[in-house]
């Protein structure tokens, strides 16, 4: 059950942190339709995070609720992959990150619909519909930018080059993930690699782009996001996220 809690937290943290980065786009999107769409994706992922935090709380059997996980853990207790936390300097970077993240998460959720944990299975089933839409949205924009103007094509290519070193980490199996996969509760991310690579290949081909040939970004002694070893941008993200909650620790909202 400790594994189930830890596993739920990892998947929740991925969703919360990507949602946070999308929230930061609010009122900064290139078009009003994109404001609506990005807020929508952020809301869906926030919803997934909340359900998964609840599952973690139940599995732990203590009295921790969703807000305890989101607001009162330290950075190194967040188990999201580093890709999720990357700051998004432009729209091309955003859709590049989103394409990679949603493709991977969709593959993961599809496996998880067969989870032996009925709660995770239900969360996955609901999430699939949402993330399918998110992935299509991201893929369409990668194609538009890649097969758009010369300028957008160059920016899309630069963004993919910058994001791709973090892709490898998505398919590295943390011990908790391995045990949960063996128990039939979760999915081994290593087993999703080919499926995701096929999607990346198809989308990038439509975008008249190529899959970047870059080396993976190392962690620290082999440890990265899942182990709580993040990038330097994560500290600022967590500080902002938790600022009000930490300033009023006794408050209820």
């Amino acid at each position: 059950r400790a594994d189930l809690a830890a596993y739920s937290l990892m998947l929740a943290d991925d969703a919360l942190v990507v949602s946070h980065r999308l929230q930061q786009w609010c009122t900064h999107a290139p078009e009003l339709e994109e404001e609506v769409a990005l807020a929508n994706i952020a809301l869906d992922l926030l919803g997934q995070a909340r359900m998964l935090y609840s599952r973690a709380g139940q599995a732990e059997g203590g009295d921790r609720a969703e807000d305890d996980y989101a607001y009162f853990r330290t950075e190194s207790e967040f188990g999201n992959v580093r890709l999720a936390e990357l700051a998004q300097p432009d729209f091309a970077f955003l859709v590049a990150t989103l394409l990679v993240f949603t493709t991977w998460r969709l593959a993961l959720l599809q496996r998880m619909t067969g989870s032996r944990d009925p709660v995770l299975a239900a969360i996955a089933a609901k999430g699939i519909k949402e993330v399918t839409y998110h992935r299509d949205y991201a893929a369409q924009w990668v194609v538009r930018l890649g097969d758009g103007t010369d300028y957008s094509r160059q920016r899309m290519r630069d963004a993919l080059e910058a994001v791709w070193p973090y892709v490898d980490e998505l398919f590295a199996t943390h011990p908790v993930e391995r045990r949960m996969a063996e128990a039939g509760v979760g999915a081994d991310p290593a087993s999703l690699r080919d499926e995701c690579a096929a999607v990346f290949g198809t989308v990038l081909e439509s975008a008249t782009l190529e899959v970047p040939q870059v080396s993976p970004r190392a962690g620290v002694a082999g440890r990265a996001g899942r182990h709580g070893v993040h990038t330097e941008s994560m500290g600022y993200l967590v500080a902002e996220l938790q600022s009000v909650a930490r300033a009023y620790p006794e408050a209820t909202w």
Binding site: T27, P30, E31, E35, V36, L43, L46, Y151
Partner: protein, 324 residues
């Protein structure tokens, strides 16, 4: 489709008739140029207000202190983007062009509601905006659900429904905070102190200084005067403040049994004028951010347009049209 061309005075008579019978003018109906341009300006300002109005609230999304409040706030700001889109569409039924209107917003040629030139300084501001600002907006907008121009009236019905929902959520947040710690209660009081007077200013200048009101009321694109609506808002809000346990920052505020209304103090029209003129705490910031998003996004919009053209060209080639 009729082929007869009724003459101008006949058209005007029909238009006045429709207005007189409280029926709706629809996009394909003839309308006087003044009616059209007044409506375009009014609806565009309303659309701009929805879009600029996202900023003060969006400022707190990433810092919302509970995931539930975060989801509520994010959904609300998303609704506002939706309202903006919806209202820009209404202007397009009058022949306006959304990108042109956006150009007028970011160059400062068209205004938006001045209230959004005040800063949101604590999370309580999110609740107070829901309570007071959305409350005032609803007072302004409910009568517009019966506006003479059909697409605008229908937009207002939908928007008012969502605004009422937002207002209740804002009030509920404040209720929760007032039941919380002393720090939370102080935050709510402080936010109320800051937003009360600007909310009253949302109804515009006193009737004596509002020259266009008469024509707008004749055209039924305005249904009540500024002062009538302001009084309605005060009467509605004072009991809510009492239920909440906050003090409204106006020593002259008291029930007037004779009038059957609350009396309230003098509004500082000097501050109002300064803010309208562009010197409010956030005017420069709000417009700059909108401009920055719009101009910074031009390469994305151009890419989308270019891709669509390429796709269209490919489709034609596939269909053999390119074989000529």
């Amino acid at each position: 489709m009729t082929t007869t061309e009724p003459d101008q005075s006949e058209l005007e008579r029909q238009f006045e008739d429709t207005i007189g019978r409280d029926q709706r003018i629809e996009p394909r109906d003839w309308m006087p140029e003044g009616y059209r341009s007044t409506l375009v300006r009014q609806i565009a300002q309303h659309a701009h207000s929805e879009i600029i109005g996202m900023q003060p609230e969006a400022n707190w999304i990433t810092r919302a202190p509970s995931l539930r409040r975060k989801a509520i706030l994010l959904a609300k700001v998303q609704d506002e983007a939706g309202h903006g889109l919806y209202l820009y569409s209404a202007t397009e039924t009058l022949g306006a062009d959304r990108s042109e209107l956006t150009g007028k917003l970011i160059s400062g040629k068209q205004k938006y509601s001045s209230i959004f030139n005040y800063p949101t300084l604590t999370f309580a501001d999110v609740g107070v905006i829901g309570w007071l600002v959305d409350g005032a907006a609803i007072c302004n907008q409910v009568p517009l659900c019966r506006c003479s121009y059909g697409p605008y009236a229908r937009a207002m019905i939908r928007i008012c429904k969502e605004e009422s929902f937002h207002q209740r959520q804002g009030y509920e947040l404040l209720m929760t905070m007032m039941r919380g710690t002393p720090g939370q209660r102080r935050m709510v009081q402080e936010a109320t102190d800051r937003w009360w007077w600007p909310s009253l200013m949302m109804f515009g200048p006193p009737d004596g200084d509002s020259p266009n009101t008469a024509q707008s009321m004749a055209w039924k694109i305005k249904r009540h005067t500024n002062d009538e609506l302001r009084q309605r808002f005060v009467d509605m809000t004072v009991p809510q403040a009492e239920a909440l346990g906050v003090t409204l920052p106006d020593p002259d505020l008291r029930w007037n049994a004779e009038r059957g209304h609350y009396d309230f103090g003098e509004i500082d029209w000097t501050e109002f004028t300064a803010v309208v003129k562009g010197n409010g705490p956030c005017n420069a910031q709000r417009v700059a951010q909108r401009r920055h998003a719009h101009e910074g996004g031009s390469w994305v919009r151009e890419a989308a347009a270019s891709h669509a053209q390429k796709q269209e060209a490919r489709r034609r080639v596939r269909q053999g049209e390119g074989a000529a």
